[in-house]
């Protein structure tokens, strides 16, 4: 459990959380924000695995994608709520 919480925290404060949020704020389309966040999650996991699929932990990949999708969606919601353009 602690391991999962740590992984979630690490991703929220890393690329999926921060870059995912920033990318989500660049669009008004929810699906696009979520997609960009998810892609960042995949890329981040690959970066930390040294671009070798054999080193990718499934749980870490799933958590990174979920955090990225959530962050991207929140970013889009912020754009919709807080900007008129």
């Amino acid at each position: 459990m602690l391991d999962i919480l740590g992984t979630i925290g690490g991703n929220v404060l890393s690329l999926p959380g921060i870059l995912g949020l920033a990318l989500g704020m660049m669009t008004r389309k929810l699906w696009l924000g979520a997609l960009m966040g998810g892609v960042v999650g995949v890329i981040e996991t690959l970066i930390f695995a040294g671009w070798q699929l054999a080193h990718v932990e499934t749980l870490e990949l799933v958590i990174a994608i979920v955090v990225g999708v959530c962050a991207g969606s929140i970013g889009t919601a912020i754009r919709l709520k807080g900007a008129t353009v």
Partner: protein, 230 residues
């Protein structure tokens, strides 16, 4: 003038999301950029403060392992290089580091409830604490050891004969630092070999291909040595 019936929280919420016509885009961007630098700098600086030896050993329950560590070569040695707590227990990579920091919250809890508050309690938990660290190190191919040590950087000709032959054996058998160097910084509990065996068996059972995926460095050296002998 119409009376505002909104509650305080609602008014703050509406104010937060309403456009501010007095600020230009440039001003907002520059102010946001500066605020971002200040926030991130402060956050990172605070995080680094939690990596200091003073911070790690400020808890009463850390006194025992601090005393043990001070008797080891990682504290005092001929080269004058020191590895402090965070060098071995906190990963350098951002994602792994944040994960370790989040997981370290449990240490604060155990300090507060006094789980290892006395030497008797400490000894009672020594094996389980050591086992948890061994498991983490075995899983990560001793990642934190390798921030300083690497088979590729070793000159076996200037190592003691036994060390050189053991390191060669480690490369040949895809072993990792913690396979031999348990107790390098803290005293070993009784029955530690049986416990370490249990850890390795558990990890082997979990992995479909037991730890071979971590052997990239060893593979490089082995292929180099094979080519040299050919």
């Amino acid at each position: 003038m119409a009376e505002d019936n909104r509650g305080r929280i609602r008014r703050i919420w509406d104010w937060f999301w309403s456009p501010i016509p007095v600020l230009s885009v440039g001003f907002t961007l520059i102010a946001g950029f500066l605020a971002g630098i200040l926030f991130w700098g402060g956050f990172h600086w605070t995080l680094e403060l939690t990596n200091t030896e003073e911070f790690c050993t400020s808890c009463h329950s850390m006194e025992t392992n601090l005393g043990e560590y001070r008797q080891t070569i990682h504290y005092n040695n001929h080269s004058g290089v020191r590895a402090i707590c965070s060098d071995c227990h906190v990963p350098h990579e951002w994602n792994h580091k944040i994960k370790a920091k989040v997981m370290a919250v449990k240490d604060v809890y155990h300090e507060l409830v006094g789980t290892i508050g006395t030497s008797e309690k400490y000894e009672a938990h020594r094996l389980s604490m050591a086992s948890a660290v061994w498991k983490k190190m075995k899983e990560s191919d001793s990642r934190e050891c390798r921030n300083c040590h690497n088979f590729a950087y070793m000159d076996f000709t200037i190592q003691e004969a036994r060390a050189a032959s053991e390191h060669q054996r480690a490369i040949d058998n895809n072993m990792t630092c913690i396979d031999c160097h348990q107790g390098i910084a803290h005293s070993l509990p009784p029955d530690y070999l049986e416990e370490y065996q249990k850890v390795t068996e558990e990890l082997s059972a979990q992995a479909a291909e037991p730890l071979e995926k971590h052997a990239a460095a060893g593979d490089d050296i082995r292929s180099f040595l094979q080519n040299s002998t050919d």
